[in-house]
């Protein structure tokens, strides 16, 4: 299946789907969904009909701050020196009215089609306050740990995951470290 034809078919079936051009990840297709509700349908179609059978990885990005036209955070990362690990990484500016501001967690699924040598990034945004996306564990068992990792580090709840609990960090570390406004609370080992 030629990637272009795959995209055309996807667009035909799902209305809220947007092909990102130019592709944010160079050399790979990227499609953006309007919301998590259509995610399962799109991924299922990609897997069963269009040949994107291999789940490469699942990741998520926390976007918080004023953005430029392409949607990237403009406030450069201040790269603070954190010997104690107690400051939040980024002192984010509050949104200014009239300027674009992005506050979302974007979950990214990379699927690949080995026969057509193509990889597609399916991107879906959820809110930062209560991030929820459906789990893909019934499509690929490999999604199990990757979803748990994102739940642990970014706090995204994967609905329908049978065993969604912390996997990497110990229980006494509260919060989700990969969030941009994560504040480390000193614990007994610091």
């Amino acid at each position: 299946m030629v990637p272009d034809a795959a995209i055309a078919k996807l667009k035909e079936r799902f209305s809220g789907l947007q092909l990102m051009e130019p592709a944010p990840v160079k050399g790979h297709l990227s499609v953006k969904l309007s919301g998590p509700s259509k995610l399962i349908g799109v991924i299922k179609m990609l897997k069963d009909e269009l040949g994107y059978e291999f789940l490469d990885f699942i990741t998520a990005v926390d976007w918080k701050g004023p953005v430029d036209l392409k949607g990237y955070i403009v406030n450069p990362n201040p790269n603070p020196f954190m010997p104690e690990g107690v400051r939040s990484q980024m002192i984010s500016e509050p949104p200014t009215p009239g300027f674009p501001y992005r506050e979302a967690i974007e979950v990214i699924y990379a699927l690949s089609n080995w026969a057509a040598k193509s990889r597609i990034f399916v991107r879906v945004e959820t809110t930062r306050g209560d991030p929820r996306v459906p789990s893909l564990i019934f499509l690929w068992k490999g999604a199990d740990w990757q979803e748990r990792e994102i739940f642990d580090l970014l706090g995204v709840v994967f609905e329908g995951h049978p065993n969604l609990k912390k996997i990497l960090t110990p229980d006494f570390i509260k919060g989700h470290p990969l969030r941009k406004d994560y504040v480390h609370i000193k614990d007994k080992y610091d």
Binding site: D68, V74, P78, N79, Q89, W140, K141, L178
Partner: protein, 368 residues
């Protein structure tokens, strides 16, 4: 007997068990000797490198990648540099590309030798460990000559490699390759076709093609199940499209197949290294104009390579500042380890080590 009341037993393996190759904890629920439920518990080496990468500069991140898969650190360096170079639009010289491939393949030999030695110990054969490490020391000597370090190299940098080969390196490398070719037969005699070893591994831990793909396995574990997926062939990076080598696959997906794929891969790596040495062009090893503190324009990049343990990918988001906005590593060990939940169920306790050893995980990469 039927109304005898039985109960399952919970056995905790690790996190300092000598056979788990690091700090992995396996929670096993046993019914007699049969495993009812296996639950790997990880995070005992989670250092939060993905977060730390957001605080470090791009050159500093390379150091961090070294410590993921510390047994084969070259591909880790390479994949981060490839992703960063995509963001910065850097052109890499041909010599640097050859050196990168050369180092990655020698490192694959070193990594597979370590696997061979430790897997022998897991099964109960101590001698192959000493033999494999004898050869591994020679490989590490080569690394030490080239970059000064034995395991964590920081040799592949953004824009090329840190230093050109020292004098006499190629001769020493050829000498090693010639010596090593004969040694693989020795391993075959010692371990690969050893009847005890065959009995313990040939019918154990069968992983079908479908299961392997379902769990997202890559690398020798997937090829052991008979799927010829190799990033070096399907998505060639650096100079792999100019080199001639075979993708080794197993038949049934048993522990022995996964083991044997690695032994075969060492022969292929020898072939690749020889070709690289033959084709090595002259020229610079570092691209011009790599900033001391690189600030790539905002954007995203994905690069992946065939590391010793599978398809290692880096998803990198830049925001125009001196540090990455987000770094995600698709760590093959992490994804390969998850399959244990499924394949251990229904097996005997004694086979756990054989299967765990055959997946060849490095906990530094699992937990990152």
């Amino acid at each position: 007997m039927t109304d005898l009341k039985t109960d399952t037993m919970f056995v905790n393996m690790g996190p300092q068990h000598p056979s788990t190759h690091g700090v992995l904890r396996l929670g096993l629920t046993l019914s007699g000797e049969i495993i009812v439920k296996a639950e790997p518990d990880i995070g005992y080496l989670h250092r939060g490198t993905e977060k730390l990468a957001e605080l470090r500069g791009y050159h500093q991140c390379v150091v961090m990648t070294d410590r993921w898969d510390y047994v084969s650190a070259m591909p880790n360096n390479l994949v981060f540099c490839l992703a960063a170079e995509k963001l910065m639009n850097l052109e890499i010289s041909s010599r640097a590309n050859y050196l990168r491939v050369l180092m990655c393949e020698i490192n694959r030999i070193a990594s597979h030798l370590l696997f061979l030695g430790t897997y022998g110990i897991d099964i109960g054969a101590y001698t192959p460990f000493l033999y494999a490490f004898r050869e591994r020391e020679m490989v590490l000597d080569l690394f030490e000559m080239a970059c000064g370090a034995r395991t964590t190299f920081n040799y592949i940098r953004i824009g090329g490699v840190s230093a050109d080969l020292p004098q006499g390196w190629t001769e020493k490398c050829r000498e090693f390759l010639n010596y090593f070719k004969g040694k693989i037969r020795e391993y075959d005699d010692l371990l690969t076709y050893n009847p005890i070893f065959l009995d313990r591994t040939k019918t154990v831990g069968i992983l079908s093609k479908e299961t392997a793909l379902d769990w997202g396995l890559t690398g020798p574990n997937l090829r052991g199940s008979g799927v010829p997926y190799d990033v070096r062939k399907t998505d060639p990076y650096c100079v792999y499209d100019k080199l001639d080598f075979d993708v080794c696959v197993g038949e049934t997906g048993s522990c022995w197949d996964r083991y044997h794929v690695r032994v075969l891969e060492m022969t292929q790596s020898i072939r690749i290294v020889e070709q690289c040495l033959g084709q090595l062009p002259a020229g610079d090893v570092m691209a011009k104009g790599v900033a001391k503190i690189p600030k790539p324009p905002a954007g995203e990049a994905y690069a992946h390579v065939e590391a010793s343990r599978g398809d290692l990918g880096i998803y990198l988001v830049a925001d125009g500042s001196s540090a990455p906005y987000r770094l995600h590593a698709r760590a093959p060990s992490y994804i390969n380890l998850a399959v244990l939940q499924e394949i251990l169920t229904g097996l005997k306790l004694a086979d756990v080590i054989a299967i765990l050893g055959s997946t060849d995980i490095v906990l530094g990469e699992v937990d990152r």
